[in-house]
């Protein structure tokens, strides 16, 4: 995939992806990066991920807490807030509304 284009797309939706991952369970930075990769979005470097997490925290969409995990050292765990869930619902709807016509427009070109 064109790396620059992927970057531009991610810039718009990475916060929503993170909120989506946090919808069901809390998590920490490294685990989130792995989950994003496993979901097929591709490798996300820490330098990209943490500023997004900080912004989500600052705007009150997630809360964070340093805690010892079941195993291993203390980590900063992120948990989605009610505002975060609302933002995910709204943002998710907007995204789907946005990509549907885009998909429609470009889908035919893909098969040629």
């Amino acid at each position: 995939m064109d790396i620059e284009r992927r970057g531009q797309w991610l810039r718009g939706v990475l916060d929503l992806c993170v909120l989506g991952l946090l919808r069901d369970r809390e998590s920490y930075g490294y685990q989130l990066a792995q989950a994003l990769d496993a979901a097929g979005i591709g490798p996300i470097q820490g330098g990209t991920l943490y500023p997004v997490l900080l912004r989500l925290q600052r705007t009150g969409l997630v809360t964070a807490q340093w805690r010892e995990g079941a195993a291993g050292p203390a980590r900063k765990y992120y948990r989605i807030t009610e505002d975060g869930r609302a933002a995910l619902r709204q943002g998710g709807r907007d995204w789907v509304t946005f990509v549907r016509p885009v998909t429609g427009l470009v889908a035919e070109g893909v098969d040629e």
């Binding site: 970057g7 531009q8 810039r11 916060d15 920490y28 930075g29 490294y30 990066a33 470097q45 820490g46 330098g47 990209t48 991920l49 943490y50 500023p51 997004v52 900080l54 912004r55 600052r58 340093w66 291993g72 050292p73 203390a74 980590r75 900063k76």
Partner: protein, 284 residues
């Protein structure tokens, strides 16, 4: 650049960009945890320290500049300090301005000239270029050495005190009082050579504060300190700062950078990126 160097440079950059100490501490710790979990070259995972620090600063916002009333008059002003050993240039055009009531940390990788810079400020070594203006009274605490093996701690206090014209009794009392600030009860009859490394450093530090200097230059003075003493050390520095001293401390430990007012990173250019381009990851 290894992970420790990268984290050090990153912490200095955050400080440089006036990220609040609490925020900076969390971000550095989180980056360290991430690197421990995932490994990898920090400049690939996070990018150059300067750029990542800029992204963080943009995400969390920076602290307001300090109240203008706080800093006192300039006590130490070093400019254009250049020092060469043979063909190797250790310091190139380094400078630092410290005011009364400020603590400055001098950080950087091993061998980047931190100690040399401090010794030049103390007037113990001549630079190849540059000059230093300092307050009238200087205190200097070396990394090690600087004490006499066959003298008692009390005799060190008497010796230093005599330089200031203090009589024996007052000098001894002043020394013991200063030592207590570090949580050290000076033994009356133990020769310095029988003190542990950490205790000898307490003596070393006590000697440098005994002269009540306006400018205190400390070269990693906490070697061999246990955890409690280390905390006492920073508390003591805080008290000295509040008393209006200008303090310069060479350090490679970054966990206390929130306690300092200025950071001078002597890592040679190219080691850190100060351009501050936020990169694509840093903008929403």
């Amino acid at each position: 650049m290894n992970a420790d160097d990268w984290l050090r440079a990153f912490a200095a950059e955050l400080h440089h960009r006036r990220v609040r100490p609490d925020d900076a501490r969390h971000v550095v710790a989180e980056a360290a945890t991430h690197l421990r979990d995932g490994g990898g070259d920090p400049t690939v995972v996070f990018g150059p320290p300067g750029r990542y620090a800029a992204a963080i600063a943009e995400s969390v916002g920076a602290a307001p500049p300090p109240a203008p009333s706080a800093p006192g008059p300039v006590r130490l002003h070093a400019r254009g300090i250049t020092k060469r050993y043979g063909r190797r240039t250790v310091l190139r055009d380094a400078g630092l301005t410290v005011r009364a009531g400020q603590i400055a940390a001098v950080v950087g990788a091993n061998g980047c000239g931190k100690s040399t810079f401090l010794r030049i400020c103390a007037g113990l070594v001549s630079p190849d270029a540059g000059e230093v203006t300092v307050g009238s009274r200087l205190g200097y605490c070396p990394q090690q050495g600087g004490t006499a093996d066959f003298l008692l701690p009390d005799e060190h206090f008497v010796l230093v005190g005599a330089g200031l014209g203090l009589a024996r009794g007052p000098a001894r009392r002043a020394g013991r009082a200063a030592a207590r600030q570090l949580g050290w009860d000076t033994p009356g009859d133990v020769l310095t050579r029988h003190l542990s490394g950490g205790t000898r450093q307490k003596l070393n530090l006590t000697m440098s504060t005994l002269t009540e200097p306006d400018v205190l230059l400390l070269d990693e003075p906490y070697q061999g300190f246990d955890r409690g003493t280390y905390v006492d050390f920073w508390d003591q520095l805080g008290r000295l700062r509040d008393a209006g001293r200008a303090i310069v401390v060479v350090t490679h430990l970054l966990d206390r950078l929130d306690r300092v007012d200025l950071v001078l990173d002597l890592t040679p250019a190219g080691g850190t990126d100060r351009n501050g381009d936020a990169g694509w990851g840093g903008r929403a």
